[in-house]
Structures are given as C-alpha cells and as structure tokens.
C-alpha cells in the first residue's frame, strides 16, 4: 500500500477512534483514572487533580474550536477573579521581576515550598533581547513597554493578563498566575516593572 495512502487511512482511523472516545459519556472516565493513577507527593497533593470549571470546559472542548457561549462563560468566570494591586500601584522592583521571569521552579513536588515560585516566563516568551534562551509557545514580549507605552488601559490590560490570562483568552496556555496563587501580588508588580520600566532589559 502506498505510504501516503496508508498515512491517510491511519489518520482516518485515529480520527474515528477519537470521536468514539469523546462520545457522550461512553468514553473513558478520565477523572476517575487520574485519581486511581496518582499519589500525593510532598506539596503536590491529590486535590490538584480535581478540575475547576475552567479546566473542565477547556478539556471538554480541547480538540475543537471553542463555542462562543463557552468562551464567554470562561472569560467572565476568570475576569471576576482579577484583583487590582491592593495599594493601586502597579510597579515593583524590575530586578526582582527579571529573577521571577528567569526562575522555572515553584510548586513542583521536587520544589521547596518555602521558596517563592518563579513565573518561568522565558520558558514560553522572548523578553530581554540579550537573553537568547527563550521559548516560542507565547508571543515575543521584547520591548513590551517601549512599544505600548504605559497608559492606564495598557497597564490594566497587562495586569489582568498576568493575574488571570483566561480573563482575555479562554483556555489560554498561559497559567493564571495571580488567580491560582502561583505568584504573589508583589511578584506580579515586579514583573510589571520588568515589562514597563524604560530601564528594564526588556525595553532595550
């Protein structure tokens, strides 16, 4: 059988299998299998396997385009969690912001719970032009502040994005740093400074 034809037929078979798996309840009980297949390890507790509504909806609609109503529900749900900075000031320490962007540890079972989590921004984004080891899962943020300025609208948009990415992009790949308690308020402010300060390596 011609290799291309074979590949095509394989794709159809896999597609059909996929559909049968996702059919109304007759598919596998993934949540139950997850509970049975994992055990708690240090700070990574079993509770982490329980999905919230956002995760459940995003999983349900994973391989297909998000229906408009579902998208609206997710953005509304997540926008409601966004808390502005408690003192109204957006900017913290840009040097610490850089550290947070570079640090990939935090919340893993292998991590020290006493240490603050990092944002691991460089895993997915380009930021400072001088840092070449950057990922491409997210868009480039090079010269972020320089290109956008710091109007109240831009600051509010960026804060919201950092706090809870799903407030704007339902089912975003980006973690919901503020809402899920990954980063503390001060850390988010430090990241804001790293993104916006004219002196930041990001804006050179």
């Amino acid at each position: 059988m011609k290799p291309l034809l074979k590949l095509f037929l394989q794709a159809i078979v896999i597609g059909l299998l996929a559909r049968s798996a996702q059919a109304d309840g007759s598919g596998p009980n993934v949540a139950a299998a997850m509970r049975a297949s994992f055990e708690a390890k240090r700070q990574a507790t079993m509770a982490r396997l329980t999905q919230d509504e956002t995760q459940r909806l995003c999983t349900q609609h994973a391989a297909l385009p998000l229906p408009r109503k579902v998208a609206a529900r997710i953005t509304a749900l997540n926008r409601a969690t966004v808390k502005p900075p408690s003192d109204g000031a957006y900017f913290g320490d840009l040097k610490n912001g850089e550290v947070i962007a570079q640090t990939g540890t935090g919340l893993q079972s292998s991590d020290d719970p006493a240490k603050p989590a990092g944002g691991n921004c460089y895993a997915c984004h380009e930021l400072a032009g001088s840092e070449l080891a950057f990922g491409t899962i997210g868009p480039s943020l090079r010269q972020y502040g320089k290109l956008r300025g710091n109007s109240p609208a831009v600051l509010a948009y960026t804060w919201e994005k950092l706090y809870n990415s799903n407030a704007q992009m339902p089912c975003s790949n980006m973690p919901r740093f503020g809402a899920r308690g990954i980063l503390r308020e001060q850390q988010l402010k430090d990241l804001m400074a790293f993104l916006f300060d004219p002196a930041s390596p990001v804006n050179q």
Partner: protein
C-alpha cells in the same frame, strides 16, 4: 547550572566556537547538538545499561532460580527481537494491557519468584543505586532497534487504553492548568531552547517515541518511558504518577499508536 549541564554547554561551546551568541540560536544549537551526537557515533552510555541488562536476562535469579528465557513479551517465550515495537498490548495471562516495564515485572515475579516490592525497590537508577528494571528495559529495547512500530489494537482493552491515553493528553489540571497538550499540542514550538514535538500526529509522535528510552546526559542515567511520563507530570505540578498505572499504560499506548510505522532507534542520547 548543574555540573552536567555545564559539561554539555562546554562541549557545545567548543563545537560552536562562540556558544550561543547569534539570533539563530535555535538552528545553530540544533546543529551543534547533532554534531555532538555524531561524535559519539554508535556509542552511547546507554550501552552500560544494555550490557547489565543482558547479563541479568541470562542470569538464574530469585527463589525459582531461573533466567528470563521463559518471559513472553508478546512474541513468544524469550523472544526479545522487535518485542518493544509491539508494546503495549493485551496479555491473556495477566488479563491486562501492559507496557514493557510492567511486563518485565510480571516475568521477574511469576517466573523467577522475586517479590514485587524487591523488583520495584529501585525503579529508576541514581548513581550507585542501579535499577535492574532499567537495565533489562535497555536490553530489550535495543533488540527492537530498526523494528517498525505495529500496534493492531485488536483487543477492546487495548482500544480502551488508547482512548484513555488520548483523554488524559488533553486533561488540564493543577495550579498551572497544564495538560500534555499545553506543550505537545502544536508543531514548531519550543520551551527555552528545547524543541517540542507535537505528539498527536504521526511525525511528532514518531520523532519522540522511537527515541525513548534514552541516556539523559544531564542526569547521567538511562531513562525509560515510565520515567519520562512521571517526570512530565512533576513538571505539570501534578502529584506522582504511579508506576504501571492505567494512565501510564494508556498514555504509552496513545503515543505508541500515534507513532505507528516509525522505526525504533532507542536507546538514544539526550540533553
């Protein structure tokens, strides 16, 4: 930076001349890594595990004092050539879908009479703490080099394992909302400088699956599929994936089936 990462960076630096100083960091890094691999030729520290595994396979062990020649990995007792390329699969005797690692545990316990606890005491090696399971896995996988992955999935339990694996692949959970798909659901992306295969299509799945188990230079250890899966979940901020669990087998089945037609090249060498 760890010592091993430094050693690798040093090797890359020597090869590239200047290290990572150009904007084409990704392609030239890949070229440098390819050159580094080429330097090894056919050599690979994984051989050390393979040799140990071969010795263990032929050694009469346990209270029953037998070797592993009676171990059926799906192609008949003692047949290891190509065995890895048709796993995971349903086994009548255990009434389960099993991957290589759990099947080896079955053989060591039922044939040799070793206790499950003993066999699983050191699943993944660490320096002087060597894992027998890892060594046996390396030996059996090497015997499948060049074999084409074929998973007919005729048994309903095999199809169910595949469906579960696929479901888990998209399951978003944990504080970071990570699913396997978060990193492995798109082509042409990378985390830092590590390119990410799209595991839901044949090309990406083949690229990945045919190269595991692998010698991980940064750890100085040979790492298996079971290890790789549980390490992914650790990075996803989820709890510990249990060895040989439904999810472990299901994901392996999903990946292997998606990689069908790919030619086994493992054990390979990785960062």
């Amino acid at each position: 930076m760890t010592r091993r990462a430094r050693a690798l960076a040093g090797a890359l630096g020597a090869l590239c001349g200047l290290g990572l100083t150009t904007l084409q960091a990704a392609p030239s890094t890949e070229d440098a890594i390819a050159e580094y691999h080429a330097m090894f030729g056919d050599e690979n520290p994984a051989e050390l595990w393979q040799i140990r595994g071969e010795a263990l396979w032929h050694e009469k062990r346990g209270p029953r004092h037998v070797d592993m020649s009676g171990c059926d990995l799906g192609l008949g007792a003692g047949v290891i050539a190509g065995a890895y390329a048709q796993l995971p699969r349903w086994f009548e005797d255990t009434q389960q879908v099993q991957d290589l690692e759990t099947r080896l545990v079955t053989c060591m316990t039922t044939l040799q009479g070793l206790s499950r606890e003993e066999v699983l005491k050191i699943k993944f090696g660490d320096g002087e703490k060597k894992s027998e399971l890892e060594a046996l896995t390396a030996y059996v996988v090497t015997a499948a080099k060049g074999a084409e992955i074929r998973l007919p999935m005729q048994h309903p339990a095999e199809r169910a394992a595949y469906a579960l694996g696929q479901g888990v692949f998209y399951y978003r959970a944990g504080p970071h909302d990570f699913a396997c798909a978060t990193c492995h659901g798109e082509t042409g992306k990378r985390i830092r400088l590590q390119t990410l295969p799209k595991l839901t299509e044949p090309a990406g799945a083949q690229n990945a699956y045919t190269h595991w188990p692998a010698y991980r230079v940064s750890q100085g250890e040979l790492r298996t599929m079971e290890w790789r899966l549980q390490d992914c979940f650790r990075q996803q901020r989820l709890p510990q994936l249990k060895f040989g669990s439904e999810v472990a087998i299901g994901l392996t089945m999903f990946l292997a089936k998606t990689a069908e037609g790919g030619v086994m090249a493992a054990p390979s060498i990785k960062r």
